[in-house]
Symmetry: C2
Subunit: 259 residues, 2 copies
């Protein structure tokens, strides 16, 4: 396929590279900042542009990988070209594009992307098209770069995006709290790294409620009271500890967990 | 070394197996439930007992791997044998043993152990002895079964145990919330598994505050407001979302995070 990338951030970089490696032709890379466009374009043999009026219409689709807030504006500029337009946002409804064109879709890579890391072919990609033909087209495109392709509608994708915050962004913040607690007592974060990895690996084959452990899972009130006391000078961490523990205890009472 | 195991749960099973594989001699396995003692003892060539009065004094150390609440009682029963006694608890001070004997220690495997999973040699073990000779002895024993051995005193170990709750038990609960949100909308937890693993892998080489992503890290108020609305019928999840997001935003304002 001939693909034009609108954006040059993490998502654009990963998708552009993956598309290139899969043999697709990258036509142009747009960024407001020409230097960013130049760098990405160089690596994927595309033409860099920093002005949407310079868009080449010899392309099959626009992949809009910009900040959520900018999607509607960018799509409006691109609508006159009458090409398939897809955005890559978990939190944005396909309707934003459907207001402008009938040929619209979503191509959402469900991953915590960092620019300097290779994209894994295990990265799930969720696609949605404005009609069956487009859904199929996007599914095929996704399969050319990933082994995990799912058709997910806009209502589901919103939930998925929220669930990903709980499964990814929030755990990372809890790692930060742990790291800070250790640092305050002259211990290296390294100590907890194997545990963190093991915790994530455990749920690759089993549901998380089946492998919950810890003081709250055992309803070990002495340990929980001691922990709350240790957090005495950090009321917000205490509140967080209490809320998370209560959730675990409730889960257990609901007969969904054990140990 | 000649080692006697007091307990037959996850910790006893993993340590017993690792000790056996490293060439140590397991003398006895004690459990209140003789069947549990028999099963573990069978696998590590030890004698099963279900009564502490049947303890064989031809041993070098007792490894007390029972529930935290039972450590003091069990240690009291074993004190007359005048052997080195160590417990395996993250949350328990060495003082509990020091009240009964001068030869005491702690041998704390920092891992989320499941009975039916092989112990990894990457599992950190934290040791503490009542004197330097014992610390050294425990360090050597730990090195015979793990590449990651740390000397951690009781004050530090309490913090480490608390930090592990934040780094392991609480993230697993957040996975459960994510799984429930997906299930409510007919999506499989499988969708999030690569993301969860990637999130844990990211912090193996970098500090978590350096790789924080998500709506709160970007201070994306629209998305956070939308997420809170989606959680409208679950006030406790709303509160949790709010608290965790506030923590991430604060972290960012403190100049410790980015993106």
């Amino acid at each position: 396929m001939r693909i034009s990338l609108i954006g040059s951030g993490n998502v654009a970089t990963h998708l552009g590279t993956a598309f290139k490696n899969a043999g697709h032709r990258l036509v142009q890379v747009y960024s407001r900042n020409i230097d960013n466009a130049v760098l990405l374009a160089y690596h994927i043999d595309a033409e860099p542009i920093d002005n949407l009026s310079a868009v080449n219409f010899e392309t099959d689709m626009f992949v809009i990988a910009v900040n959520d807030d900018a999607i509607a504006y960018v799509a409006q500029q691109l609508a006159p070209y009458n090409k398939l337009m897809v955005h890559t946002s978990g939190a944005t409804d396909i309707k934003v594009l459907l207001a402008l064109t009938l040929d619209a879709g979503v191509f959402y890579p469900l991953q915590t992307l960092s620019k300097n890391k290779e994209v894994a072919s295990a990265m799930p990609i969720c696609v949605e098209g404005s009609n069956e033909a487009i859904t199929l087209e996007l599914e095929q495109l996704a399969r050319s770069i990933s082994n995990h392709v799912f058709c997910v509608n806009s209502a589901q994708r919103r939930i998925l995006h929220l669930a990903a915050v709980f499964a990814c962004n929030f755990p990372n913040y809890l790692y930060t709290i742990a790291q800070r607690l250790l640092a305050q007592h002259d211990m290296a974060f390294e100590l907890l790294c194997p545990l963190i990895l093991e915790t994530a690996q455990k749920v690759q084959g089993r549901l998380p409620n089946e492998v919950q452990t810890g003081p709250a899972a055992r309803n070990d009130e002495n340990t929980m009271a001691a922990h709350l006391q240790m957090l005495g000078n950090e009321p917000q961490l205490q509140e967080l500890y209490r809320l998370l523990s209560q959730g675990i205890i409730k889960m257990d009472n609901a007969g969904q967990g054990h140990k």
